[in-house]
Symmetry: C2
Subunit: 339 residues, 2 copies
Amino acid sequence: MDNQKLGKQTYLPAVPPVIIGYGSSAGRKECEGPLGKRFDHTCADDRFGEKSWEQAESAMQQLALDAALKRAELHTVDLDYLLAGDLLNQCIGSSFAALEDGVPFFGLYGACSTMGESLALAALLLSGGYGSYAAAVTSSHFCSAERQYRTPLEYGAQRTPTAQWTATAAGATVLAARGRKGPCVTAVTVGKVRDKGIKDANNMGSAMAAAAYDTLSAHFQDTGRSPDYYDLIVTGDLGRLGHRIVTDLFAADGVTLENYNDCGLMLYDLARQDVHCGGSGCGCSASVLNSLLIPGLISGQWRRILFCPTGALLSPTSSMQGQSIPGICHAVALEGACS
Amino acid sequence: MDNQKLGKQTYLPAVPPVIIGYGSSAGRKECEGPLGKRFDHTCADDRFGEKSWEQAESAMQQLALDAALKRAELHTVDLDYLLAGDLLNQCIGSSFAALEDGVPFFGLYGACSTMGESLALAALLLSGGYGSYAAAVTSSHFCSAERQYRTPLEYGAQRTPTAQWTATAAGATVLAARGRKGPCVTAVTVGKVRDKGIKDANNMGSAMAAAAYDTLSAHFQDTGRSPDYYDLIVTGDLGRLGHRIVTDLFAADGVTLENYNDCGLMLYDLARQDVHCGGSGCGCSASVLNSLLIPGLISGQWRRILFCPTGALLSPTSSMQGQSIPGICHAVALEGACS
């Protein structure tokens, strides 16, 4: 059987690429949350030994990739290519990390959907017959994101109830084209950019919910699957409000999402950690995938997961110019055991 | 024959994807240059009917894509996916264009190498068995880039002799997986991030030259080809100084590059147009490819071109933090007639 397209946006590899390594790094607040003990590398001061928060992001990406390569029993020289991106202007977190890694590099920008985009492209390229091993990596950092998108931390600006907390975290996944055992990528639904007119940069969950609903709907329509085909459907970082909107949009279609969660609700304890609507940032879904979801597929806790990172494609400039916030969501279907 | 990897960084499609459409848009200064009459869409005031320079970039991408689709005899609904990126923070030029296009979207960040990265990924995905038609698009705008990277235009800051001129231009290429005639993508060499310690943000050509030399060397080594295999080797936007450095680096290896040019030297008349070391920006190589190079492959002016866009992966933040400028270059081999 050949690789194929199903419906309008979904692609199925004939030989699903196998996840052979996963790694994560996270900051102090993330370590105080429910997944705290699962991260491979943590740091008490969120600097990871670097002089700036931006350089800390590069360090976090490298630590996550090192952990993933160790599990995969590979070295950077074994990787055919690296796909990575982050939230920083000009994606410097990823570029400076890739400089140190010395691996052929595809830079991506998908905002907080980057873990989905990088995983999707890695799976499609490997199953397309190009190379043996690839890595998908992304990161975010609360301090670098706050000063870039909102206000410098020193201002101590008050956050609105719909705000989310940008995760200080990174995740890395290493895939093999074939010949190894482990969880695998069985389908990819490529998202479209969607915009429902939300202009409040402190309400990203609502802005991205339309994209998540759109990609999930496309996935179900393209594949003929219903939501209960998956043990877990998990969006990237919609938080409490965005998760509710997606649930409501499907309910209006007569579809009940029983098994639906969001990485922004899983990374922190919302009742205790003062993150308002939940977590966000590229590192949110990346660190949840690479600390909880992949191990859960390996252990058999879940057999099938639909992993759907979501990104808000705004910039401070587009917001200042009065434009609304476009969103995107890529869906990646993961299954527990392939070989 | 299957798709294959050659050497360490090069990939060869078994069935080379065919370029079935190309389109370009450009601003006033670009229209006054040697390629002026070749662009599909031009604009006297560099606003392209929009309220801001940033929104003008989105409009330019759409105009270039429209022209490419028209030549391909396709509509946006026929595209399986779009790969695009630009220089703006958070790549808003591409995201807002993709919102209007309504096509499944992979956002990229490769700085001025983006035309190479998008073309490479489109070719690898299509020849990997995923979809029938894809578009690769990118843009840059002098005014949005100057105020973001350097100083607001109103300051009238003096430019150094090594400075280059960010092109106000966009380019779009439409590829078909098979079944059509035209120029084709026969090989892709994926670049690594390289950094030789250049810290002067007004000397991007020197910063990127190391990456161009690295990727070109890898391409020749992986394929066993010598430079004279190609009728034209063309880097992205190294300008006069970067072009000279690459020529010198190969000369030091005993290799003479006879047939080597740079898009930054082709877009403007350097003697007349006050662009110092030449053109730069994602739109530089994108508009040269989609107005001159692809038509030249179709007409038989060139049989084989090695198209090597180069990107400087800095940000104003990384420069202010004292870091040097990493660069990347992807090489895409184009041949005149495939079917």
